[in-house]
Symmetry: C2
Subunit: 388 residues, 2 copies
């Protein structure tokens, strides 16, 4: 055993399995690139950041007698200009598949110890998501395919991370967008994955079509314009065989809606987050060769998406309120509520929550994430503090 009281991992055996020198593994633990999960999931270890070639968010499961590695979800790169990006990144193939990129949060699902488990992007086990997928997903798929990890988006309004009402989801639901083999990390082809999801009754992201390479940019533009109006996020452009890496592209309305959310909490918002969304708008207006009226609308949308929520925040704080991000969750098993709150508090979140109330055979609880930094900064400025 090792000397790190917070990591109960057999370094020799884990190193053997991962094909890493024990000293390298010890090094990852020391640098906190390999961390142990909490509570009943403490036989699961997360890789974080640069971890010796193992993707960030990967999870090592220690079964006692053997190990399993659930690979982190690969970072998907973004097209700024559709036409050249599609041409260059999918050169050598004839067509690309366009599927919907839904706006929720990304989870990986596996069956372990007779239970489905949901890992977040970072490799944490989210107790709320894990409880929910027990109810959404048929087990047969996982029993028949123990070697496959299912990747999907958790979407809907009763969502601790991204609340969206545009997907006809009443509470929360899971939509498959990828399936990969545990051992190799290789993805199933798009059509094989869609077929399997269909056969096993798993919901999946919308398929817009399989388009010849030279028509794809134009098709994506049409799709993006249409779904943007509905408040949907964007698309993933994929090699049907999933050999080449997918590329993402998003709607202007979705970029602006991200900004709108971020600027309510302006003092906590990442500056890269802001900058990259503005830059996307610049490239989209160029590529679509917009006329002055369309350009005017885009500029107004962008400006409003920043100043509108800031104006509201300042008015709220000026009126004596604190700024918070409010959401509700819904569970069958009431005990999950406490575990989920503990889980969020471990990330340093400042939470307020109501008493759960019953709705049918489920419990609903309203949770408020307090945004102390923005509330405090706004209050200080209202009291005459200078900016810097």
């Amino acid at each position: 055993m090792n000397n790190y009281p917070d990591i109960e991992l057999d370094i020799e055996k884990a190193g053997d399995f991962l094909d890493l020198q024990p000293s390298r593994l010890t090094d990852l633990i020391e640098k906190r690139n390999l961390l142990q999960n909490w509570d009943e999931y403490d036989n699961m270890y997360r890789f974080e950041g640069h971890a010796g070639g193992i993707p960030s968010g990967s999870v090592l499961i220690d079964n006692g007698s053997s190990f399993k590695l659930i690979r982190g979800f690969p970072k998907i790169r973004r097209a700024m200009l559709l036409e050249p990006s599609i041409k260059v990144n999918f050169s050598g193939i004839d067509s690309v598949v366009v599927e919907e990129k839904m706006n929720g949060y990304n989870v990986r699902v596996v069956e372990y110890d007779d239970e489905l488990i949901a890992f977040t992007r970072s490799g944490h086990v989210c107790p709320y998501t894990t409880e929910r997928i027990q109810n959404f997903l048929e087990r047969d798929f996982f029993r028949d395919n123990p070697d496959i990890v299912v990747y999907g988006e958790m979407v809907g309004p009763e969502n601790p991370y991204v609340q969206k009402s545009v997907y006809n989801v009443e509470s929360l639901d899971f939509f498959v967008f990828d399936m990969r083999y545990k051992d190799t990390g290789d993805a199933l082809s798009v059509f094989r994955r869609r077929e399997m999801a269909e056969v096993y009754g798993l919901k999946q992201v919308m398929l817009f079509g399989n388009f010849p390479l030279e028509k794809a940019a134009e098709k994506v533009k049409e799709i993006i314009k249409a779904i943007g109006k509905e408040g949907r996020e964007g698309v993933m452009i994929k090699d049907p065989d999933m050999v080449l890496q997918p590329v993402k592209y998003t709607c202007s309305e979705s970029n602006c809606s991200d900004l709108q959310h971020a600027f309510r909490f302006y003092n906590e918002s990442g500056k890269d987050f802001l900058f990259s969304r503005v830059v996307r708008e610049g490239f989209q207006t160029h590529e679509w060769d917009e006329n002055e009226e369309e350009f005017h609308k885009r500029c107004l949308r962008l400006g409003k998406s920043m100043l509108g929520p800031m104006r509201d925040t300042i008015a709220h704080v000026s009126g004596g309120e604190r700024i918070s991000d409010d959401f509700s969750i819904r569970v069958k098993d009431r005990e999950v509520i406490d575990r989920f709150i503990t889980y969020l508090e471990r990330f340093g979140l400042d939470l307020l929550f109501d008493t759960p109330h019953k709705s049918g055979n489920e419990y609903i609880i309203n949770i408020r994430k307090i945004n102390k930094s923005t509330s405090d900064k706004t209050q200080a400025l209202l009291e005459g503090q200078l900016w810097s």
Copy 2:
């Protein structure tokens, strides 16, 4: 003498003068917080960053037999909300003076060795500015007041840093906004400084008035609205006695014009620069309690200030051009041109310049600063590179 070949400073004597231990001074040199100026100004040393209580941009002049310290210009803090900021920051006094904050670059002028010298904010001696002030400024002031440093803004279109045509300046001119004693760094009162500038025929920034504290926010709002329309930058709000620290406040049009300039070179623009300008707009619309029409205009102005220049940049690069920042300078002494170009190139700037042409008794030269990063990034994206 010391062991640092690039610093020819007598550490013992300089330490004595600055009241710093020689070891502390050696430490500042090692950490490059104290740097030697170039060429004929190599008896002048700049303090940069955290330098043992000495403000960044301060200049130590070694006369051989004695030293002089020209203090760095103190950082001026910014009001986000006029009403509370004025009340809190000027509590205890009856009125505040409002002067114009001009949009140019900030220089400190002293006489040394029978010549006027212009230090930039960082403490460099700018050869162009130094040549120019010989022509703008009467010497009498400096001969009669060798203990005073004059702070002013270099403003106008023939400007290597900030080209503005809104001040009725044909080429470049110098406007005094502060005078401070070399020894103590204490400022002259506003009225004493204005009187002295007047007596000696030095141009100075516009005085809007001396307003009772309780009326000042409303007055500043009126001034800001009026000068904003003309494309002027903003105001400085000052304690008439210059005991309390001044506060700055700027026009929305000027914030947006900054963004407009920055987004031409979007890949080089600081994200904090962008963010802070957006936040200013949010607070101004709140404080001025704007109606929907005014708010709409502000949002549009903000959005356009980012997307307009980006759209132009992408179109230029797409048309085969490189993005550059073009300006011209005008000098009497032709030899200054080469020295100025060498000076800019030392900062790592990539420059192209035309052959100087004569205009009256002066030479004009057009200079082009090449923005390689934005040109290259835009070109790469146009060729299908993904964002990240």
